[in-house]
């Protein structure tokens, strides 16, 4: 087998639809005129000095300068307003508050749009600006190592960190026959170069043509896209990235299709449907999609080894937040002695690059992404976007090639950010990250250890 390094072909794909600017800039025209007159006298007509403007980003670079500012260029440095408190006012643009929803925050949307437009890792100056820790993903930090690095070749050079994973059942051990050949049935796994799949689109977008963009991008990335059956009925062939999502009642229709996917996902646990599909298509990985909290014993007893657990788009599960629910199901698989043979995929509440390695540390093998894909394509939520059934998204009118590139860029950026995390931890393949909670720090534990003796401490 010839080695081929995995590479994600990111390329610029600027926003296609208008996006609200970050700041509004208001200038007092009377104040500015008065300042100009004063300065003309003060600097004795030296117009180069008079017209020198307190902005290096071009907000006042138009032909009439501050009389017609260009707020789209404003980065919020505030130099103009610091210099001229009575004349210039820079305000956050309230239109941005309409981006995303209560979970997918406007800042989060901005970040995803940057990642989808450029494929780059967001790098900025100054320290962290947000809340100290916090609930959910924010109450978790990943470890680093002062002197250990996966290799010494540098993350931007030749250093190789694998993000490859297997989907499907892996045997607990290998056995060999007398001739030294592998004994027993060959196992079915799908090898993916990155632990990120695309999850199904919300109902309101099904059959709107968006599946094609997802499948294009997933194919290019060599990953998988989960697509509900009702969006597939007319399909004459199956792209290699396609994972049909079927209800048990739809299996007969699926089996009549002229094509064979590499993997199928069944909505909900149905022992008969699982057995039937496995018998009809033995070469196909059959996954079961369940809400977090659903029992696993029966699927496991029936031989199901690919489980896709789903929280809602805000990361809510029947027992709390998705992070804890992932740990619960991972621990349950460990306790049953089948963790190494089982693939655990998770969805819901994963809206930022940092959530992917954190979810894997909590116990997932792979994530299946949902709302970030919509945001990357400049979808605008209409109201709260909580579930696939209820979520309303207004999508822009875009072409398929642009949509494909945006998704590729997003994955390129998120994979690179995962490499930053893995590199800092000194871990050279993502499979070793799974369940490594010892290489993570949780705020509740750290707070108790550090502040537990302090008067008034309350364990949260």
């Amino acid at each position: 087998m010839t080695y081929k390094r995995y590479h994600i072909p990111v390329a610029p794909a600027p926003n296609s639809a208008p996006h609200p600017r970050r700041f509004n800039v208001n200038v007092s025209k009377i104040g500015l005129a008065s300042l100009l007159v004063r300065e003309i006298f003060h600097y004795r007509g030296d117009m180069s000095t008079v017209l020198s403007r307190p902005c290096m980003y071009g907000v006042f670079s138009g032909p009439v300068g501050g009389f017609a500012p260009r707020p789209d260029n404003c980065v919020g440095c505030l130099r103009c307003t610091v210099q001229y408190p009575d004349m210039v006012r820079v305000e956050p643009n309230s239109d941005r508050l309409e981006l995303g929803d209560s979970y997918f925050t406007p800042d989060n949307v901005d970040t995803v749009l940057y990642e989808a437009a450029t494929g780059r890792v967001p790098v900025k100056g100054a320290g962290y600006r947000g809340r100290y820790g916090g609930p959910g993903w924010d109450g978790m930090w990943t470890d680093m190592s002062e002197i250990v690095r996966p290799t010494r070749d540098g993350i931007h050079g030749r250093e190789f960190i694998s993000t490859q994973i297997d989907i499907g059942e892996r045997p607990a051990w290998l056995s060999f026959d007398e001739e030294g050949g592998l004994d027993g049935d060959p196992w079915q796994v799908i090898r993916l170069p990155l632990p990120m799949l695309f999850d199904r689109l919300p109902d309101s977008l099904l059959s709107g043509g968006w599946e094609a963009a997802l499948l294009d991008a997933a194919g290019s990335l060599e990953t998988l896209a989960i697509v509900p059956w009702k969006a597939l009925r007319e399909m004459s062939s199956a792209p290699s990235a396609l994972v049909p999502l079927v209800a048990p009642a739809e299996i007969d229709h699926l089996l009549e299709a002229a094509w064979r996917p590499r993997m199928v996902e069944i909505e909900g646990w149905d022992a008969g449907a699982f057995a039937r599909l496995g018998a009809a298509w033995p070469e196909c990985v059959v996954a079961v999609r369940l809400p977090f909290g659903d029992p696993i014993d029966e699927p496991l007893a029936s031989g199901c080894r690919t489980l896709h657990f789903v929280a809602d788009y805000h990361g809510r599960t029947s027992s709390g937040f998705v992070l804890e629910s992932i740990r619960e199901v991972h621990d349950a698989l460990v306790a049953r002695g089948v963790r190494e043979q089982t693939t655990l995929i998770g969805s819901g509440g994963l809206t930022a690059a940092e959530h992917v390695p954190k979810a894997i540390i909590a116990g997932l093998d792979a994530v299946a992404l949902d709302t970030p894909l919509l945001i990357a394509l400049q979808g605008r939520f209409r109201g709260e976007c909580r579930t696939a059934e209820s979520c309303k998204v207004e999508m822009p009118n875009v072409d398929r090639a642009w949509a494909k590139q945006r998704l590729i860029n997003l994955m390129g950026s998120w994979r690179d950010q995962m490499l930053e995390i893995l590199g800092a931890m000194g871990i050279r393949e993502v499979r070793r990250l799974r369940g490594e909670v010892g290489r993570a720090m949780f705020q509740a534990d750290l707070e108790k250890e550090a502040f537990g003796e302090i008067e008034g401490y309350v364990h949260v």
Binding site: T49, M56, R79, Y128, G130, E146, A424, L446, A450
Partner: protein, 445 residues
């Protein structure tokens, strides 16, 4: 007048115009009714930025509201308060408070003490301007404390202040020469940085100007990503070799080890001690930077408030706490933060962002882009960097130091402690503020 003279004259006129307006703004904004609406964040709210500008202007803690004491991050230092003594038991304002801390607790090598429990953090030439480095060095000299070169080399103009400048040796080895190693009374090995733990320094191409590249012996306008980690260090023993190497060149130097805050930061502390460190510098994950991946700033390694007690207790249990000085950084914004860090177990702290805020930083997070900082701080653009006059900058930093020293003395008087060293590890003097009450309402001022 030659064309070049005319250009210089023009640039001076423009610079004078803008520096005058900026300095007027720094003085006026803290006294206006409301802060700029787009200013601030939870770590550094607008009121705290303006209070820092005020202290940098007056040299005294602000009267009135306690905005200068804390942020609104709802955790860490912002979740802690002090258990003041009853009024009658507090020291009076006439009581002298000793803020001195030793930087060498070993029984050998030069005794170095600093009169305030802090010094300046490493900020490289390239990430900040030479003017800013000079301003910080001047302030350090005035106060008898230190500032650090960061990893971008040692501009010639700093040699005048060499007794107060720490020479940093980082993984990029930029500007590490025999002369710069000999110049430092303290040599700092930077293993990691809190804002980007496990990653090397980042200097994006636009800021790698000709002069910066010359200092770093690199190619102009090409981004510089320092390697991580030191490629010659795999163990405590390897690190010891580094220390021996530096001590051969400069036998009198104290050794500081700058590390980030992984899960085993306590073990790292012990390893640093056995490798010969006089100073352990732990840099928490919410620390400052001129450029870092956002994912690293927020998510990798623990904040400094959790690391300090972990390190302090482990060094105590190892029986070596009083042989090493622990300096903490990564989110120290106020005199109250300094006191809390010491109460959690540090000997002292290292200031970075607060010094930049004193010189006009608005925390806009645009340090890394294009020409760099529009306020002339985190830039080496020849025009923008003129916005900071080193004498003016030194005065601002020095004033902030003065305000911090006064406020810290007041805190110690209210706690009934005559020396700052008496506060170290006194978590019994701290209170944990309830979660159901807004932090800004419960800080005792």
């Amino acid at each position: 007048m030659s064309m070049s003279d005319r250009d210089d004259h023009q640039m001076r006129a423009v610079t004078d115009k803008h520096t005058h307006a900026l300095r007027s703004g720094f003085a006026r904004w803290p006294r206006r009714e409301a802060p700029p609406p787009a200013m601030g964040d939870l770590r550094w709210p607008a009121d705290l930025i303006l209070a820092t500008w005020d202290q940098a202007g007056t040299g005294a803690p602000p009267d009135g509201p306690d905005a200068h004491t804390h942020g609104l991050s709802e955790g860490g230092f912002d979740r802690l308060g002090f258990k003041w003594l009853p009024d009658g038991e507090q020291f009076g304002s006439a009581t002298e408070i000793d803020l001195t801390i030793p930087l060498n607790r070993r029984p050998y090598d030069p005794r170095i003490e600093i009169p305030v429990p802090w010094y300046g953090a490493g900020m490289s030439y390239g990430s900040v301007s030479e003017q800013v480095m000079l301003a910080r060095a001047k302030a350090a000299k005035e106060w008898g404390t230190f500032t650090s070169t960061g990893e971008g080399g040692y501009p010639d103009s700093l040699f005048e202040y060499k007794d107060h400048v720490i020479t940093q040796v980082a993984t990029g080895m930029f500007g590490v020469r025999e002369a710069t190693l000999k110049a430092g009374r303290i040599i700092e090995f930077k293993y990691a940085q809190g804002a980007k733990p496990g990653l090397g320094g980042h200097l994006l191409g636009d800021k790698a100007t000709v002069s910066v590249a010359k200092m770093r012996q690199s190619v102009p306008w090409v981004s510089l990503f320092s390697p991580f980690p030191f490629h010659s260090v795999y163990s405590v023993e390897d690190h010891r070799k580094h220390v021996d190497w530096v001590k051969t060149i400069n036998p009198k130097a104290l050794i500081s080890i700058k590390v980030s805050t992984p899960t085993d930061v306590d073990m790292v502390a012990v390893g640093s001690y056995y490798a010969g460190a006089h100073i352990l510098h732990i840099d928490g994950s919410y620390g400052g930077t001129g450029a870092a991946p956002e994912i690293a700033k927020k998510n990798i390694a623990m904040p400094i408030e959790y690391a300090i007690p972990k390190v302090h207790r482990y060094l105590l249990s190892e029986g070596i706490r009083d042989e090493i000085t622990v300096m903490a950084s990564g989110g120290i914004r106020t005199a109250h933060d300094i006191a809390k860090a010491i109460a959690l177990g540090a000997d002292g702290v290292i200031l970075g962002t607060s010094e930049l805020v004193a010189m006009g930083c608005t925390r806009c997070s645009n340090c890394e882009r294009g020409r760099g900082c529009p306020f002339g701080l985190t830039t080496t653009d020849p025009e923008l960097s003129l916005l900071i006059d080193p004498v003016w900058g030194a005065e601002r930093v020095s004033n902030l130091y003065s305000a911090f020293a006064q406020e810290l003395s007041t805190i110690l008087r209210r706690l009934g402690l005559p020396k700052v060293g008496d506060l170290r590890g006194r978590t019994d003097l701290l209170t944990y503020l309830p979660h159901d009450v807004g932090v800004n309402h419960v800080h005792q001022g």
